[in-house]
Every structure is written in structure tokens, then in C-alpha cells.
Symmetry: C2
Subunit: 666 residues, 2 copies
Amino acid sequence: MGNTDFECVHSVVIPPPQPFLKSLKNNLKETFFPDDPLRQFKNQPPAKRFILGLQYVFPILEWGRKYNLEFFKADLIAGITIASLAIPQGISYAKLANLPPILGLYSSFVPPLVYAVMGSSRDLAVGTVAVGSLLTASMLSDVVNINDNPTVYLHLAFTAALFAGLLETVLGIFRLGFIVDFLSHATIVGFMSGAATVVSLQQLKGILGLSHFTHATDVVSVMRSIFSQTHKWRWESALLGCCFLFYLLVARYVSKKRPNLFWISATAPLISVILGTLLVYLTHAEKHGVQVIGHLKKGINPPSIMNLEFGSQYLSTVIKTGFVTGIISLAEGIAVGRSFAMFKNYHIDGNKEMIAFGMMNIVGSCTSSYLTTGPFSRSAVNFNAGCKTAVSNIVMALSVMITLLFLTPLFHHTPLVVLSSIIVAAMLGLIDYEAAIHLWHVDKFDFVVCMSAYLGVVFADIEIGLILAVGLSVLRVLLFVARPRTFVLGNIPDTGIYRSVDQYPNTNNVPGILILEIDAPIYFANASYLRERILRWIDDEEDEIKSSGNSRWIDDEENEIKSSGKTSLQYVILDMSAVGNIDTSGISMFEEVKKIIDRRGLKLVLANPCGEVMKKLNKSKFIDTIGHEWIFLTVGEAVGACNYTLHTSKPNLASSDELKKCSSNV
Amino acid sequence: MGNTDFECVHSVVIPPPQPFLKSLKNNLKETFFPDDPLRQFKNQPPAKRFILGLQYVFPILEWGRKYNLEFFKADLIAGITIASLAIPQGISYAKLANLPPILGLYSSFVPPLVYAVMGSSRDLAVGTVAVGSLLTASMLSDVVNINDNPTVYLHLAFTAALFAGLLETVLGIFRLGFIVDFLSHATIVGFMSGAATVVSLQQLKGILGLSHFTHATDVVSVMRSIFSQTHKWRWESALLGCCFLFYLLVARYVSKKRPNLFWISATAPLISVILGTLLVYLTHAEKHGVQVIGHLKKGINPPSIMNLEFGSQYLSTVIKTGFVTGIISLAEGIAVGRSFAMFKNYHIDGNKEMIAFGMMNIVGSCTSSYLTTGPFSRSAVNFNAGCKTAVSNIVMALSVMITLLFLTPLFHHTPLVVLSSIIVAAMLGLIDYEAAIHLWHVDKFDFVVCMSAYLGVVFADIEIGLILAVGLSVLRVLLFVARPRTFVLGNIPDTGIYRSVDQYPNTNNVPGILILEIDAPIYFANASYLRERILRWIDDEEDEIKSSGNSRWIDDEENEIKSSGKTSLQYVILDMSAVGNIDTSGISMFEEVKKIIDRRGLKLVLANPCGEVMKKLNKSKFIDTIGHEWIFLTVGEAVGACNYTLHTSKPNLASSDELKKCSSNV
């Protein structure tokens, strides 16, 4: 039976008590500053610290000094490329948010400039996003009718952007960025796919040339709205829409196959807009059922700080809208920034980025912009176009400014159906069914989370989908702790190693000893469960010994102990290696289990409790109850000690001196 | 350096894939049936199963057959004892709930009978509780004024009891009892102490003989209410109250010191009531400012099923009241039942008990009873009085019935101040400051949870205190997962054991190898954190090696490798023993970490991933990315393999054949 003879036992150390404030400080530091952002400030003179601090808040001061002409050439090309995407996309998304199209351009002018100064990503391209736009529309239209009160609606959109920005800034300043982590990968896949589906369906309004349409976003309402007015469908519009959609999808397909042809896809929206506008202008199609954008005001962003609306009638909705859209757009922006940073091997401080996003939205909300973030599609184009720094955002902003100042009249005849095609083409790329299939293969629970987000968004409501998915994700974490797994361990032949019998089928049981591993912290949420479960394991083991007529035992030690009292279970060893922490409910549970085990004539033994657990067991005096000599460094040593006392025919009586022969060595 | 020479390496097994439905079934079973309640039904003929099923629902069928005269004698004494406690307590708590005093007696008649048939605890004594009564009063008085609409208020109290019962039954049937576990020990200590404080303060109304009093429960409102009417304080009432309170506290003190004198404390309330009533009757004190109960209707519980109130005006409040009081009283009842079961070494199925509590409240709500559960004080008296089975509840119910039928006129002159004294005396025993001090010593976070429950209840509101404490407890679980600890491991001298350097200060670092242990499952909530943290550990290690001039390395292997390239960090071993699970976000994190580590010229090695993790790594093909030969069964073997390749001057090139010499053995 194994090779862990009872030679030498190492004792488990109780870590020295730490002053309360020191351990509190350490805990807070790990919670809020896991990436140690202030590392570079250490051991610096005050002047240097000030400069470093300025550079921390405004990274442009750092990279600006090293900026050169070569960088500028690359950024210029990238900037113009993303501007050609930003202008049509901006107008489209503003329509999606039920806002005047010009707002899409305003939002691509001021916010990118703010980000260029404060952001630390070199690849992120700033702009509005489809999901944020749709969320703004669907949440705000609950309290104000866009047709009755377009001005109030507009002001609420600015105010929502302000609250989104405030939330982002506050989260960043208080280092609460990890809240965004609670939007798991699975949640985001499902949520984005669902939102893309919903947005695409909404575009049927534009493509079919309908003028009345539901404000609801769920698929049932949208379908009902479409099929209740089949007589109003305009074939001219639909034909135009399908052609442009086809062109855009082909362009994307080509660019995907050949990344160096990225510009085909990047410029396709602008080309579509130009072609569509020309077509309408030449054929006067606006008189044949093709709706056009109409008049766009010339001039750059007017200030909107006086338009912010804090009336109590709308306040709660506006705050809610701001918070939800803020978190969602933050999640997208941070993920995008982080991905490209990993590609190019530089580091991004998530919390710092949040402050940049927040300031960008706060300044934006005062200058007639609505919610902006770092959308994936635009940033990918920026990256492929070879951008070097955030200067590409400045170039984009200046291009948009020129458009705003001089070119807006050109969009007068742009057909809405082209904008719808642009949105649909962008959205179809977001429906990531391959990722969902991958989730199904790797992790069923993640798949459920993903699908609940998708179905919630598509069939109920964007918020409901999100709440459902986040709720399920959190439930999973709670369930992991509430229902920890317990494994029976066995000995891997010819070693002192003990592993789960389920995972390693060729392990051997140790006669008379039940070894259990618990794989979660022992908290209030699982204390009752673990008590039941440990006792059930003991019952099972005793039943098995009874029913098997002690055969396993006899195999091992044929002559000596046949059918003596010792064949039965004597020791329960709990392997605590994976128990990261314990609370007072957990300690009470241990006390109860110890009592019950004692009453059954068994002995409770602990193996490898970690420092935190040892501290708590010590403070609660449970170590004295169980006996320090019954706590071992490894399962192997615990088994060795148990076997020793089992064979010296005085179970439970081995003195601690005997047991700890060389514990003083450690 | 250690004794783990590179001799033999065991491979980590990927558990065989399980059919999806089977693993789902297993998971559901562990989640909802951890105690395997249907074990006894296995392998039984249908007729036997039916009988077992009946006995499961109505335990009286099981223990009733073995009932004998000796048991009955014991139960008779216990039953009469708890009846003498139940009658004055019932009347007091009904007053606390702003309900007619007679309801306290009704509630001690029908519900105990139901519990006697369906409950599985032998020691639980059923009745109303102070906290539940106060909660009912404070939540219902939000929607209906007790003085204007006493009938509506009464009907709402019945309806709330119905919803409490429905919730309890549903939780029990769907095996959701673990929801109660989320009320941690610390939460309950704080909440109960807070509620007891609030209830005691409320009694100042009765003791000072005030007729107008605030309905708010927070200490500020209560104090303001008391000191705003100092001119109405009645010294007669106050004197009487203090005398009785003193008597009750002395009685409890005596019983606590000498458990065999339990009856002194158990009968003290009844004696107080008798003495108080006689005093008032003889002195006509009711004409001198001492308020009395007044007329009590004769006769047993009238049916109240037609009085249940489902009007939409009150429905949401009533449901909320029912759910909150139901959960709270469930937590108390289950904990009490379980404690006494542990004392007497019998087993209680928590979910089964919930159904019994639920039915008791449902039947109660139809027979003019309000919320009942198994209060600790009464059950402790029952236990001390030597009860054997739930027959003591039947005896109590019958005693209450006799009281209802014949003795109610005797309570006409019972002074309210005595009832207040009884409540205060009971409540002072619930303020468990010693437990709070214990929490502070053992677990600071539990102390914070406890204090937030206490302060929330005392200064804000009972519900707020509860929500705060449960929220903090859940946050703790989430934080454990969101911010897992990572430890650097070192070698314990002369062994192959690797343990945390912090806990075991005499461990040795292994040159060129960084060994990290992660002590939580790797989920979306901590994936970003762990990526940052692992990279920071690597940075720290490399900084240290640089700054120490490789001294540690040179110590070990003085001649060979001095100042060669190899002195730097080469391997990062992640000890996965405590990583119970991983989700897709975690796997993405690993992929990123692997890329970054590769780019730095380091090698990522895993040690001892558990079955669940191996499955996921395999399905996501990450095993192929990392190389199956770089996953080891123990840290010792991983270190051995790394050292081997480190010394054969071909790092990262050892073939898998070389590494897995004897992996086929396992």
C-alpha cells in the first residue's frame, strides 16, 4: 500500500498574525490596484512625479514627444480611411437612435479629439455604436414620444450621454473597472449577436421604405409591424437596398480574405453613399418612394450644455439609460483597446481608459454629441490601415469637421435605404454563431448564458437579455461556491501522491481511511451542504465496506487483521489544499462535523490547510479541538500517520510526540 | 535543490467525455438533492414505496407506531410547560404585530397540530415569533392604517401568512432550501440582535403606559416619539414593568445557571401574568393609568379563509411581507430544528421541514392564525422539559384550546405592561454581543456583515438591514472569485513538496522557475485580474533577479552557469490544484497569457489541473497549444522536468518522449 511510510511529518504553519490595518490595506490594494498602476511613481522626486502624473492623465504628452513624420504619414492614411467609414456610419447610427443624422457627424468630431489627448490605446477609433444607439432609442422612447417631442428627446439623449460619461469616469477613478468583467465573454457574444439581429430587423423599415414602424425592439413586434403593412412595401427601395447590401457584403468578404485589401471594405460605405446619392439625384427617385436624408445643417457642433435636461420627470430614465449604455459601451471599448494592445504588445490600464471614455462622453454631451465609444469595426479598419498613434483619430475628426463645414449639402439626396444597408452589413458581421458553437463544445453553461442573452434580447428586450445573462453568470459563481465538489482521493500506485478516484481510475483506496477533497472556500453558502455531503460520503464508505464483506481490506493484509474490528472505517482525512478561505459559518460546520464523526468513533484529520484557513482555525480554537497533531502538510503524511496508529493497535491514542517526530525541522 | 530528480513523470488524465444529459443529471442531483433524500426508496416494491412516501410526508405515521406511555408522560409535562409559556407570549407577540391579542392564542392552536403531523423534528415547539410579528406590523402598516382599518389590516396579516406558507412550501418542494443558507450565521446574529433591540425599544410604549406611538421601527423615530411625550409617562405602569422585568430576568438567570431548574424560567411569564392580573383586579389599577387587555372572545379559531384579501391595491405589499417574513421565520425554524436534531443525533431533511412549515402557515392562514415558525426560546424550553416527540406540540395545542374555550375571561384584567416585560425579557436574550465579539476575533468580514445587519435594522429599517447583510455576504463570495489570491511557491527543504513562500518562510526558491498557485476557479469575473496578476508576478521575479545580480542562482550552482543567459527566468509553473473549474473567458485568458509568456521567451507549464479543467482545456484545444507534455501531475514533477531541460542546455526542446518516460504507467 503506497510508499508513504510513517517516517517524518512536517507541521503546518500558522502564519504570524498581521496587524488588522496592514492586512486591510493589502486586501484593498489587491482589489483595486491589481495592476499596480502607480509602480512608476515610486522613489521619484516630486517634480518628476508631477510630470509622470500629467503624462498618466494625458498620455499624448508622453508619446507626443516621440512623434515623427513617418508616424504622421501612417496616421494620415488611417485617419482618412476611418473618416470615410465614420461619416456614413455616423449618419446611419444617429438615424437608428432616432436622432437627427447630423448628430452622427457631431459625435465623430469632438469625442475623438478628447480621446486622442486622454486615451492610451494607439489603435482605437472613436465613434458611435449601433447597440448603444438602439439602446438609447428604446430606453428613452419609454418616457418621451419622439414624434411629439423631438427636442426633449434630443436633450435627453445628450443628458444620457452625460450620465454615461460620469459613470465611466467614476468607475475609472474609483478603480471599479472590474465591474465590466462581470460581462463575461459568453454574455457579450450572446448580447451582441442578439442586438445585431434586432438592429438588422429594424432596418427592414428603411429597406422596405416604410414610414410607420414599431418602437419595440423584439422580433415579434417587428415582424407584426412589417407584415401588417405589406401593401406599403416599396419595391424600388427594396431593390436598391438589396443591391447595396450585396455590394457591401462582397466588399467585406474580399477584405476578410485578403487583409491588405482592407480599404475595399473600409471605403465601401462611402462609395455606397456616393453612388446612392448620385442615383437619387439623377433619377429623382425621392419622388418614387425612396426616402432621403434631406437638409443637413452646415457648421460644427453647437454647444449643448444648456440643453441638458435634469427634470425629475425624466431623470430616473435618463440615469438608467446613461448607466446601461455607459457600461455596455465601456465593455466594448475596453475589450477592443485591450485586444489591439495585445497584438502590438503594449499595455493598457483599463481603469485609466475608463476615465478617458468618460471624459470623452462628458465633453461630448456638452457639444451636441451623443454616446460614443471605441467600436470594434472602426478600430479594426484603423489597425489594418496601419495607424501608429491616436493622431489618426485627430485626422478623422478634422475630416469630419471639413465635411460639417462644407460638404453637408451633398448628403441631401442620400437615400435612407443605403444607410440601412450599411447598418445591416455591419450588423451581420456581429452575429457570431461560430463563437456560440464553440461555447457549446467547450462549456455548456457558458452556452446557456450566451443563448439566454441572445433570446432575451431578441424576444423580450435588450435590457432583459442583459440582466438575464449577467444574472446567470453571477449565479454560476455563487453555485460554484454553494455546491462545491467533493472528491474521494486514492493513492496513485508506487507514489505518495493522492488524486481523485474519478479522474484517475487506477488509484487504490486506502483501507480504513476515507480521503476527501473539497474544492471551494467553505462559506455560509455551502456550510450546510458540505456537512450533509461529508456525512453522506462517510455513510457510503461504511455501506460499501459492510456490503463488500471487507474484501478489499483482506486483499491487502490477508493474514493479520481478517474480520477484526479494524476493517471498518477509522479515519476521515479532509484535503484542504483547494479551500482558499473559511468563514465563521464554515468553522461552525467543522465543529458539528467533528462532533458527529467523534460520536461515530471516527477521527477527523486535516491535510494542507492554507495560511488563511489556519489563521481562522487558530483564532476560533478549532485547532485545539481537532488537535494540532492531526493537521498534516500533505495527504501522504496524513495517511502515513493514520496507518501508523492503525497498525500499532492504539487508534486515536498516538501521542503528539510520536506523530511529529521531525516536525521541528520545518 | 530539492530531491525531485527527473526520474519518472505521471501524466494528467483527461476524464472520459460524459454524455451531456448524464452530467447534467448528476449536476442537478448534487444541486438539489445533496442529502439524497430518496435513498430509502431505492430497490423497493411499489406498495412499500407508497408507504414510505406517506411516512416521508407525514412522519407521524412512522414514529406514531413506536409511541408508548413513557414517551407520553414526558411529552405531557413538556407540553404543559410550553403552553404556560405560549399563552402569555402569544398574546404579547400579537400585540407587537398590532393584531388582536386573541390571535396569539389562535396561532398556538392550529399550527402546532399541523406541524405535529408533518414535521420531522422531535423538539421544535411551534408558535409566533417576535421578529416576524414586528416585521408584519411594520411592512403592512405602510399600506393600511391600523387605527382606520383594523379589519383590513387583520385580513392582510392572514394573507401575508398564506403567502409565507406558499413560499415555504414551494421552496421545499423545489428543493430550493439552500436559499436560506444565504442568510449566513453572521447575518442572523446581527439581524436578530438588531430586531431584538428594536422590539425592546418598542416596548417602552407599554412600559411607560403611552397610548400614542410611532409606527416606525428605527431607533431615532422611537426615541423622538418617547421623549416628545414625557408628560404622558405613567409611573405606575413603569414601576410595575420594571418589577416584572426584574423577576423575569432573575428567573432566566437562575435557569441558565442550573438547567434542571428550567421550569422557573419557563413558567415565569405565566406567573407574571397571573400576578399582574390579580394585582390589577384587586387594586383597580386600570383606573390609574395601567392599560389592560380587555375583553377576549371565547371559543376556538373561527375560519378565516373567506377573509383572505387579494385586492390589487395591497397585493404587492402582502406578497412582499409574506416572502420576507416567510424566509426569516424559515431560517429560524430550520436552524432550531437542526441544532436540536444534532444534539439528539437524528437527521432532519431541511427541504422536508420547509414543506411542513409551509403547510402549517397555509392551514393557519385559513384558521385565523398569523405567521408561525419554530421559535428558539420555546423549543429550548420544550427540549429542557424532556419532550420526546411532536406530541408535546399536541398537548400544548390542547392546553391552548382549553384556554380559548373556558379561560379567556381571566385575561380581562391582565395589564399590557406585563406583556411588554415578557417581550423585553425574551428579546434581551437575543442580543448576542458575545457572538459579535467572537466574529471580530475570528473573521473581520463576518463582523462587518453582522454589524451592517445590526446597524441597518436599528437605524434604518428591518428590511434594509437584511438586504445590506445578504448583499455584503454575496459580495464576499463574488470577491473571493473576482480577486483570487495567487501565491509564489517554494520548495520545502529535503522534500518534493512545494508550498506558499508566505506561509512557509523556510522554503527555497527554485532558480529559473517561477511557481504560482491560483486558489479559485478561473471565471469571467477574474480572468482579467489573473492575467494582470500573473504578468506582474513575472515582472517582479525578473526585476528581483536583475537587481540581486543573480546571486541566488550562483549560490546553488556556482561553477557552471555563472552569468550565462540561463540565470534568468525560464519557466512559469502554474499550480492548478485549487482551480476547481474554468470557463471560456478563463481559457481565453490562458491563451493570452501563453502568447505573452512565449513572446518573452518563457515557457508556461501547468501542474495538477483537475478533471473538469482538463476536460475544458482539451475541448478548447488549449492542451495542444501548451503541449500535453507540459502538464504535470505534481509541482515536484514539473520542476523536475524543467530542471532537466534547463541543464541539458536545450530548453523548450525536450521531446515529449524524453519527458514522459513512464507516463504510460499511469
